[in-house]
């Protein structure tokens, strides 16, 4: 229990301390803030790992008046996400060692990163629906500060717009989610996520399940983001500093899909079953839309943001299939996208700082020639992104399409098969835009204007992520085995 508590208290305390001590660290001792938050992140990661191994449970009353309990625990579904969050929190701090933040006191920057980590960990650990919502909200303000204060300062109006859009969209989503959660808790009489999952929606009328599931899906659909609700994501990613983009893509988006599994699919099987076809349709529209946008997009960061929309579409498709394989695929694609998008955003963030912009139309030195390390990472990243077998991107998307081809009996099979065909086309588009980017910035023989290759913290982060892409691509079982038990428990009822 202490382990679990420490895993949350360390980022909370360091984050608050760093933000409040903003003036003490400026400007001579910027390194200290970095070192402190590196130590904190490593310690947190240690405790998270210990928690994943030991599986402790913390269950204390917190708000007896509202029946809210401080209930945190780890299970197979959340374990990979916890590890991902903790690892990437170290990575962003490490990366900022070679690429320090611009725009304000660095201790506030690191403090906000710590608070984002706190919120993400608490979200994945929470076993109480209201605490889940609360944790969901914790990441908002730090992320807003990261975007609005440390973001790309070329265009201040665009920056204010991007950060405002991010926070308003997300608040709308989470408030709708809160209404859904309150309705769910009220209707089923418990806020305990395990009890909710175990009940499989028994005792809930069909129309009630559909209403609640719709509220929750719209709410979390904004966070994932699902097609018509995704418009906040590209500007937020374009403007956010590297660390912000990484945390946003690799961790924050996962909170949405994780929430769908925990709060919709498990406790509301009938409601989700009714809405799944529509959910799958918007997911597939997202795949195609995101892919097409990537074909013409000239801002590299924005391009990767759109590719995120496409990849999350596959996750949505897997979730909608209603089968064990589909859920497994979705959870795996979640992790895969976390690793790949983190890799790509680290890369592109670094490139944007070197180039001064992320515009693809400008002629640049070919990465293959001037910076082979960055080039290698880019090739691996985009290869994984287009779903090449043997890399991490393949399994999630392949399994998602496979499971959607043979969906659960209560899903419309024809529709799902049509959707799979469209999704395959989307995957083809993904190959096209990935190769387009590689052609534009990786290949060629220009060597001017030269820029330095990745070194130090930046290179170690990239190398570690490249390794993760390869390892998880070769041995997807590492994640799949962890999630299989939890998934089987959820879908037993669904597929019956």
């Amino acid at each position: 229990v202490v382990i679990l508590l420490l895993a949350l208290v360390i980022p909370a305390v360091t984050g608050t301390a760093l933000i409040l001590s903003g003036r003490a660290f400026r400007p001579s001792a910027e390194g200290n803030a970095n070192t402190l938050s590196l130590v904190a992140s490593v310690a947190t990661a240690g405790f998270v790992t210990a928690a994943v191994i030991n599986r402790p449970v913390l269950d204390q009353p917190w708000l007896p008046s509202l029946g809210v309990r401080m209930h945190f625990a780890v299970d197979g579904i959340s374990a990979p996400l916890l590890i991902l969050t903790a690892a990437l929190s170290i990575a962003v701090v490490l990366n900022a060692r070679s690429r320090p933040p611009h725009g304000g006191s660095s201790s506030t920057f690191y403090g906000c990163l710590q608070l984002v980590e706190l919120g993400a960990l608490a979200t994945f650990l929470a076993r109480d629906a209201v605490i889940f919502y609360l944790s969901f909200e914790i990441v908002l303000i730090p992320m807003w500060v990261l975007i609005s204060r440390y973001g790309d300062s070329h265009d201040l109006a665009a920056r204010a717009d991007a950060s405002g859009r991010f926070v308003l969209y997300t608040v709308l989503g989470s408030t709708l989610m809160l209404i859904g959660i309150l309705a769910l808790v009220q209707a089923s009489g418990t806020a305990n996520l395990d009890a909710l999952a175990a009940a499989h929606g028994t005792g809930l009328a069909r129309h009630m399940q559909i209403i609640i599931a719709a509220l929750l899906l719209v709410g979390m659909g904004i966070k994932i983001p699902v097609f018509p609700l995704h418009t906040w994501l590209p500007p937020a990613h374009t403007i956010a500093p590297t660390a912000g983009s990484v945390m946003l893509a690799a961790v924050l988006l996962k909170m949405g899909t994780y929430g769908v599994v925990r709060l919709v699919i498990a406790p509301l099987p009938i409601g989700f079953g009714a809405l799944a076809p529509a959910f799958a349709v918007v997911g597939v529209v997202g795949i195609v839309w995101g892919g097409l946008a990537c074909l013409v997009e000239n801002d590299l960061k924005r391009l990767i943001a759109y590719s995120s929309v496409a990849h999350m579409g596959f996750v949505v498709l897997g979730l909608s299939s209603g089968t064990t394989a589909g859920l497994q695929a979705a959870l795996f694609a979640n992790i895969a996208h976390g690793v790949v998008s983190a890799l790509l955003f680290f890369l592109v963030g670094g490139l944007k700082e070197r180039w001064g912009s992320a515009d693809l139309a400008t002629a640049r030195a070919a990465l293959r020639e001037v910076s082979p390390r960055l080039g290698l990472a880019l090739v691996v990243g985009f290869a994984a992104s287009l779903g090449l077998p043997g890399l991490v991107g393949f399994w999630g998307e392949f399994l998602a399409m496979y499971s959607a081809w043979n969906p659960a009996p209560d899903r419309p099979q024809t529709l799902m098969r049509v959707l799979v065909v469209v999704a395959v086309l989307g995957a083809g588009v993904a190959a096209a835009y990935s190769l387009r980017v590689l052609r534009l910035i990786w290949s060629g023989d220009r060597t001017t204007p030269a820029h330095e290759d990745a070194r130090g913290g930046e290179w170690s982060v990239l190398a570690a992520l490249v390794c993760a892409v390869l390892v998880l691509g070769v041995a997807p079982g590492l994640v799949l085995n962890s999630t299989s038990k939890g998934v089987a428990a959820i879908t037993m009822e669904v597929s019956r």
Partner: protein, 504 residues
């Protein structure tokens, strides 16, 4: 066993008696020894603290338990009933009044010698009215107490004598008179419908079950909600709010936003508890009023460039949130409304306290102008952090966990009653509210360079000596900021501290 007409338990009544006696003592002292300043403050603070301590016995009682006094003989009905919600609101009113005193302390030197005693006695009287109305369970004392809580504020707004203060006071006075007329009408209708002078469920049911008197009862409740709507700044009875807040001296605006709102909400809760057994029909109006108040308040707040006017419109929106749970009829709704009110009052008072401190540091013109908040974080990190916490609490986002929990509490009865449309409107307003407060916060956290040359340091006309003299804020103001901020941090870490007071 023959006694007096009613039984009186002074201990139970102390939260009401303390400020009332304090007001009398202040006036007597002023007659005896003239030109005192500090003594009046100390008497006033002491009486508020005594009243606050006296409420402790009634906090966190189990549901249904209440402290009663002024009862008719032989186990008859009581005119004063204080359950946990009531007592907590009384405590909040007393503490909010004490905070207002701390904020107005530094203003004192500018005022004419006699005015201190007047201001103190007016503040104490209005506070006594606020604590009294919370416990009043008969129509007569309820009405008198509510007016007692309102009328002194008109004088408080007007006392400064500036033209804006007079127009604010006139707006407030007009609203007060109209609302009094409505409330008196509704009291008469209530008496006609129920034949009882008591605001109790039993009386309400009598009228409800008689088909002839039932429409009268419904009319009474609707007129009454309208009357309270004036005091609580609910749309469409809100128009006086920005005028009065902007015209009043800042501490008095804080008083209007704090104590007056508590008084109005407490008065509303007394009535709601009485009519709760009737079910939905009379309260359907509440849902509409809540939705419209939130929406209009937030949209107007989004357009304001003065912070006091922004806070005034935010009050309108927050008042919508306070009555939102009341659209669902249950005791949980009353609790939720109380919880939201407390969170709102705490956060708003902190915001006002920070603005008051900035008025002393930078002069009134700069501190009241939203654009002047750019770069506050680097100029005054502590004040800016406190302001940030207050704004995030109002927006209902962590780290202002209290505001978030209040939002959860307020939405829950609505969801429980399956009022989906209202819930969706509330969700949209949560977004609008975030936009309102983050617009301010964005200025606070953004880097200062861009604005310093853009806006020359404004010289407040007529208040130049203040700007020149005050580099640091008055200690009393800083104490006010500190106490409120600590309270907000503690209740954010453990919201149960606050929710527990409202009862189990």
């Amino acid at each position: 066993m023959s006694q007096a007409v009613v039984s009186v338990n002074a201990g139970t009544l102390l939260p009401v008696l303390a400020p009332a006696v304090g007001a009398a003592v202040v006036l007597v002292t002023d007659v005896a020894v003239q030109h005192l300043r500090r003594v009046h403050y100390l008497i006033a603070l002491a009486s508020l603290v005594v009243g606050a301590v006296a409420t402790f016995a009634g906090l966190g009682m189990v549901a249904g338990a209440a402290r009663r006094t002024l009862c008719l003989p032989a186990g008859g009905q009581c005119m004063y009933v204080a359950d946990s919600v009531t007592t907590t609101l009384q405590l909040a009113a007393l503490l909010a009044a004490a905070l207002t005193l701390l904020l107005s302390w530094p203003d004192d030197k500018k005022q004419s010698p006699g005015s201190t005693a007047v201001i103190m006695s007016l503040v104490l009287t209005a506070t006594a009215g606020a604590t009294a109305v919370a416990g009043a369970h008969d129509v007569g004392s309820w009405l008198v107490a509510l007016e007692l809580a309102t009328l002194p504020t008109v004088a408080l707004v007007a006392l400064r004598g500036a033209r804006s203060a007079i127009s604010g006071a006139i707006a407030l006075l007009t609203a007060a008179l109209v609302s009094f007329a409505l409330l008196a009408l509704s009291a008469a209708l209530w008496f006609t419908a129920t034949g009882s002078g008591f605001l109790t469920p039993a009386a309400a049911l009598v009228g409800f079950h008689d088909p002839v008197r039932r429409p009268i009862l419904v009319l009474a409740v609707v007129v009454l909600i309208a009357g309270i709507g004036f005091k609580l700044s609910l749309v469409p009875f809100h128009a006086w709010t920005p005028e009065a807040y902007d015209g009043a001296p800042l501490p008095i605006a804080a008083f209007l936003a704090g104590v007056s709102k508590i008084a109005a909400a407490a008065a509303l809760l007394v009535v709601i508890q009485a009519v709760a057994p009737l079910g939905e029909p009379p309260l359907a109006a509440m849902a509409i009023v809540a939705a419209v108040s939130m929406t209009l308040g937030n949209i107007m707040a989004l357009r304001q460039d003065g912070v006091v006017r922004l806070l005034a419109w935010s009050t309108v929106a927050q008042a919508g949130w306070v009555v939102l749970p009341l659209a669902a009829v249950s005791s949980a709704a009353v609790h939720a409304s109380g919880a939201y009110l407390l969170a709102y009052v705490l956060a708003t008072l902190l915001a006002f306290a920070v603005v008051a401190a900035l008025v002393q540091i930078r002069g009134a013109a700069r501190a009241r102008d939203l654009t002047e908040y750019r770069g506050l974080l680097s100029a005054h990190p502590v004040l800016a952090s406190a302001l940030g916490l207050a704004l995030l609490s109002l927006a209902g986002l962590p780290p202002g966990v209290l505001g978030l929990v209040a939002k959860v509490a307020a939405l829950r009865p609505v969801v429980t009653s399956e009022l989906w449309v209202l819930a969706i409107v509330a969700a949209a307003n949560a977004v609008l509210g975030v936009a309102v407060y983050l617009r301010w916060l964005l200025k606070v956290i953004s880097s200062p360079e861009a604005s310093e040359q853009a806006s020359p340091p404004a010289v407040p006309d007529g208040a130049a000596p203040v700007a020149a003299r005050a580099i640091r804020a008055h200690p009393a103001t800083l104490v006010a900021v500190g106490l409120t901020a600590v309270a907000l941090v503690l209740t954010s870490l453990s919201p149960q501290m606050l929710l527990g007071m409202l009862g189990r």
